[in-house]
């Protein structure tokens, strides 16, 4: 108990700073909630592909998946989220969700998004999970993301290069794909207050360019 108190006191800012710190903490917490809310980071907890396109930067990947052979049988989460145990599943969802949300909100996303090494391992596991019977005998089952990273084996999509997102990929690849449009997260009055009468409200589908 004593130790805890000492820790608390240690963390407590000097008296004359307290007001500022409380206000700042409030602002930061507010921003955090705003980021989580606006960016729909919570949506990461769902398995529905539609939740991924809360972010328009995911449109090209949604579109290529939707039109591909996996659009029928496998959801984004079937490939991109571990399916072996519950804890890992939500750990990955939470960390990925927060990371992507932060990138998105701060506009850090690159023009060409590339899957990270942890993501590769997860996807590879999932390919094998579904296609185990197919690849059992050719020893491809042993290839994990880490092995492939070290150039010690081929990932499934090193050969199946068009599966599932196609081989030409960037944020610009299909920016105005006919994907489902989600309602705005802001109430109309607030949106009008900030942005004036926005034409976007009246549309349910983004328009094609030409």
């Amino acid at each position: 108990m004593k130790a805890l108190k000492r820790l608390f006191r240690f963390l407590l800012p000097p008296r004359n700073w307290r007001f500022t710190v409380v206000i700042l903490s409030g602002i930061f917490t507010g921003i955090l909630f705003f980021v989580v809310y606006v960016s729909n980071a919570v949506s990461y907890l769902s398995d529905e592909p539609e939740t991924c396109i809360n972010c328009h930067v995911m449109y090209p990947y949604y579109a290529s998946w939707d039109k591909g052979s996996h659009g029928r049988d496998a959801t984004c989460a079937d490939c991109h989220v571990p399916q072996d145990n519950f804890i890992r599943q939500y750990y990955v969802k939470a960390t990925d969700g927060l990371a992507h949300a932060t990138y998105f909100t701060f506009r850090w996303e690159p023009q060409v998004i590339q899957i990270k090494s942890r993501g590769k391992s997860v996807v590879q596991e999932n390919c094998i999970r579904c296609h185990l019977d197919m690849v059992d005998m050719v020893q491809l089952v042993e290839v994990t993301g880490e092995i492939a990273e070290k150039d010690e084996g081929k990932l499934c999509w090193d050969c199946h290069r068009e599966t599932p997102h196609g081989s030409v990929r960037s944020l610009s690849a299909a920016p105005h794909a006919l994907v489902e449009r989600l309602p705005s997260v802001m109430p109309a009055w607030l949106e009008n207050l900030f942005f004036g009468e926005s034409p976007s409200k009246t549309r349910t589908l983004p328009q094609n360019e030409n």
Binding site: S170, S172, V185
Partner: protein, 443 residues
Amino acid sequence: ERRSEAQLYFQMVEPIPEWEPDNEVWGVNFPRQYESYKKTLDTTFQSKYYGSVMIDYLERYPEMVVMWAGYAFSRDYNQGRGHYYSVKDVHNTLRTGVPQPATCWTCKSTDVPRLMNEMGPSEFYAHTWAEMGPEIQNPIGCQDCHDPNTMNLRITRPALAEAFERQGIDINDATRQEMRSLVCAQCHVEYYFGEDNYLIFPWDEGFSADEMEYYKDRVGHTDWVHALSRAPMLKAQHPDYELYKTGIHAQRDVSCADCHMPYKREGGIKFTDHHLRSPLDNIENSCMVCHRQSEATLQANVYDQQNRVSELRRIAERNLARVHIEAKHAWDAGANEEEMEDILQLIRHSQWRWDWVAAANAMGFHSSSEALRVLATSIQKAQEASIKLTSVFNRYGVEYPIEMPDLSTKEKAQEYIGLDMEKIREEKEEFLEKTLPQWLGSI
């Protein structure tokens, strides 16, 4: 909230008049494209062989001076830089110290479509470079590639349309993806001046080095007679489109714009990056859309191929400089036309083939295996000429091998071919100080 970004606006704030040469006027409507276009002003990037920095080719490859003896290229030749500099560089180059036709302006300015519309192409070409000088104010820009009403891509240079027409192809049938290369093919192509300096693309027999060589032999075209070897020479100019056409990227329908003007996204707006430049300055957006490798790997792939091409081009250059000088010695020893005829033909073809690769940008990356094949035949032909020359030397008792002059720097090479560089530079300075201000102040 970034959701509204997903909307696309294509609103003309201010309609653009037909033949408007001023990029700023276009820029009011399309600020993103205009802002990125203005970045072609930047001259900082340098890759192993290219980039937007100034590169003095004659300094880097001094043998070229000898190879172009008697031709304006031996005075001055730089690696091209951003579109923004197109007019300025034509003013500055020492090559415009000799009289040039207005045809030289064709690929340099948005004022050209305007002038051609006013006077017709033949009339335009028939003027001299200096006569048209005061009219040329704006560098390459929107007007060169776009229709101001629809913003669709549009061909504004008749030479391209005519070249296709002669092959029975109507350029208006081109698809959108083809147009993404064809707008570049208005300028980044091999050309020559026909009668009355009419601009012609020599594609009637085909696009390859061999076919264009055959075409030029057939029509009997010669750009100049070499000052040392007296060979009837051909100059190749940036056959970027032609070489690219033979490569795997073209075969897979990857266009010039795909690599040099990749799409960019700002918020929900997708637009074309108009900062035209070396893709090595922008590997991430340019190559990695299609290739999942790291920037370092992709750059290494490019350099691997360029290094191979560079090795052969250096061999070709050394052979060619040597054979011109050898031919000069043969004439000096008393050789006659008949003895020299096929030797000169070999030199003509050899240098054409070397130039077809060397003048094309990208050091062969646009199609490395074709570039290497063509360079190999260049090497072979120059050496074949050397072999034949030794018989001539034998006949006239000339000692072989011929001693070679020191060609290790541009200055030494220019001195060897007898160029008075000081005088040439003085004349240019006078032009820049006296004439040019009048031209620029003229409109």
